[in-house]
Subunit: 443 residues, 2 copies
């Protein structure tokens, strides 16, 4: 503590029991860590010096953004230093005319989006908890969100990073550059590496002009099977929605629409004069595909606020939940939605799912009574079946949240041994001492 | 040869002097390789067996697609086996309703685009030489092209790969999956790795609905400085063109427009009814920005055919050229265009540039008389200054073509030592014997 305080200043080394830094959004699973110290560097150079000190003293480093993850990726497991990037909160540059921004790791996602929007631009990545989640964490998890259906996930928007690599070197690769194939894709490798290959301190983003307007379309169906037909009808329409989300019956009930079987929520965006035509095409496509009801409100804000609240509404149902984020080829969405409920039933758990239909990405969820250890155990067994299902359907154990700690080892379900070897070799290559977020994203 | 023939069949092991396999499109620089054998596997399993045999016998493996590269990446430097993927030519699946395709490494880029287009879909990556270049090579170089301005380069369209990793294991990572953050981004790491980390045998692609139509806008300016203002006016217009290419005075002269100073070629795409409005907005923006002339022909095919022919037209001027593909932040485009000519003048070489203005990506070129060794030497010295300039302007030594052999070592100009160490560590991790395309993409 004394030596680290010399790097960052006395006020910025907190005791290891600083509780705000010991858990993430996956609280239901009872994961709570233990740290020796929490360090808050005030500059990238200080962050590099902290990593260097830790690497030199064989101390584990757990990088931390907003703590909004669902996989325990930012939770310190067994001591070491939590390295919180929250003080790196500066938007270093914003060039509206050149569609680009550089922002430090601690800038919240909401701030990135707001600053872009104020200049008529869009940063389209929209994970949940945007007011708390931070850009560095978005990069570390390669975060997604509803509107990534059209626009792609975080990786698609990052043109360069400043990062601390082992054993404590601050490097910049890429920059305000839209194309660069000179080196291996180190920027891309850091995206989604969950703090296990390096610590992102600043990010170059590209942006696009904000669409003039967007309009939602909500279609309800009798069940997931009918919803699948609706989803495929949307794709066949030729319109490219910016988002195609869904809620199944259980999620709809939790969110106040008891009795409905399945809903698709689409968004279309573009010039004000034209977006109505796209919207109308979607309405027709969904009606023709057998939707029971298609709504097309004039303003999407309420719909998306409601959609954003689904996770909290589902939690409120019983007080707790275990929620996973599997993804499958989008033609297997209904299979995955139905199997989620069946798996829950086999373990005597109420289950539901919602998420990003167009990306085949489900938040498959089992409801829990907090503190009921037997139920939690059943939910964990159910989650294992969920991962097996995702892989059997040709999918992945994680579409958005990453492996973190809670899904350690699950990659072995979906990758062959030689690819797992490559995963491990990359980790050893960039973190030979295994001190960067140890125990996380383990193949 | 005998043992390799046992794997792929007698007719598919060619002698090492099979001349079609010993050079690429960078002939001007006199690069011609030497191989011990050229092997043409007929299946991914055969490709894996060939790699395994080579890895076991310490024989270098030089993966090869269409041989259309400009950096010598597919040229065998010092013996070993050229592994040509050309017989892996199957489109394994095409699901138009689900916007996806799986195609083997040897399928030409033109075939991928045509098959998509026949189903009303678009594979937007459009590197030059699409009739010859192959999908595996597109992935290995993370190929670009004019329309990557809007749509992004190859990486953005690849959702999974089948590849042979050292020491000869066939793996599949990703798939028909639009989101997957379970493992490190091995798919992305293979993109642009130029055959030095693995051999891509098949690729999962996502596609999008083809735009109904597209319209070009061509604006001419007095010089590059004025053209820069035009480029920035396009960005400020709020329209997102699908392409913003440019030609400088020298490239225009070579392409038959003697006397013109600088030209921007934009493309806008979308619904037939709406694309005209975008086109008109661009015409106004470019006129207001001081364009000398703005043309808006009703059909873009002729314009883009003309644009596609620029490289050949420039070569025809003197019979040869040395052409590099630096990229800079797009606000430095005019600086880079002007400096290209100045660098040429310092070395008594006629110079010009053209390329992808919106991505700040120049094909900076020095004209040569074939066989004039002194001129070639001056051109190589000039190219060194070009790379230094790109890095000084905040750019990269390669926006599209990669390092290959010709730009070996140039990464050290733009990456700090710790990032170069990471580049080397990744190579060692995935190719411990250094047999995958040795000497290429060296930091």
């Amino acid at each position: 503590v004394r030596e680290l305080a010399r790097i960052v200043g006395d006020g910025y080394v907190l005791a290891g029991d600083a509780s705000a830094y010991l858990e993430d959004a996956s609280r239901a699973q009872g994961l709570r860590g233990r740290a020796d110290a929490v360090v808050l560097p005030g500059s990238p150079e200080e962050a590099a010096a902290v990593v260097a000190w830790c690497y030199d003293h064989d101390v584990a480093i757990v990088p931390r953004g907003g703590g909004t993850g669902y996989a325990g990726g930012a939770v310190p497991l067994d001591g070491g230093v939590v390295l919180s990037l929250e003080r790196l909160g500066r938007v270093r540059s914003l060039d509206p005319g050149l569609w680009r921004m550089e922002a430090e790791a601690g800038v919240t996602t909401a701030t990135v989006r707001r600053r872009a929007r104020e200049e008529g631009l869009l940063f389209p990545v929209d994970p949940g908890a945007a007011e708390s989640s931070q850009l560095g964490g978005n990069v570390a998890t390669n975060a997604g969100g509803p509107h990534c259906f059209k626009h792609g996930v975080t990786r698609a928007w990052v043109t360069g990073v400043e990062a601390v690599l082992a054993p404590g070197e601050l490097v910049r690769v890429g920059g305000p550059l839209r194309k660069d194939v000179a080196g291996y894709d180190l920027t891309g490798l850091l995206c989604g590496s969950e703090g296990t290959l390096g610590v992102v301190t600043s990010v170059w983003l590209r942006l696009i002009p904000a669409p003039e307007t967007s309009l939602p379309v909500i279609a309800s169906f009798g069940d997931a099977r009918a919803g699948q037909a609706g989803l495929e009808a949307v794709l066949a329409s030729g319109v490219v929605p910016s988002a195609i989300d869904f809620l199944d019956a259980g999620a709809l009930a939790a969110a106040g629409r008891e009795g409905a079987g399945f809903a698709l929520i689409c968004d279309v965006e573009g010039h004000a004069a034209w977006v109505e035509r796209d919207r109308d095409e979607l309405v027709h496509a969904l009606s023709d595909a057998g939707a029971l009801e298609v709504e097309a409100p004039a303003d999407g804000r309420e719909v998306w606020r409601w959609r954003e609240g689904v996770s909290i509404a589902v939690t409120a149902r019983r007080g707790g939940k275990v929620s996973e984020d599997v993804a499958v080829p989008l033609d297997r969405l209904a299979d995955a939605v139905e199997e989620t409920v069946e798996i829950g039933a086999r373990h005597r758990l109420e289950a539901c799912s919602w998420g990003h239909a167009g990306d085949g990405n489900l938040h498959s969820t089992f409801l829990l009574t907090p503190g009921d250890a037997a139920e939690l155990e059943r939910a964990e067994a159910a989650a294992e079946e969920l991962f097996a299902m995702a892989v059997r359907l040709g999918g992945t154990v994680s579409g958005e949240h990453g492996l973190g700690w809670l899904k350690r080892g699950q990659l072995a379900r979906q990758w062959p041994p030689a690819a797992l070897d490559a995963h491990r070799a990359i980790k050893r290559a960039l973190d030979p001492k295994g001190l960067l977020n140890p125990g996380k994203k383990v193949a």
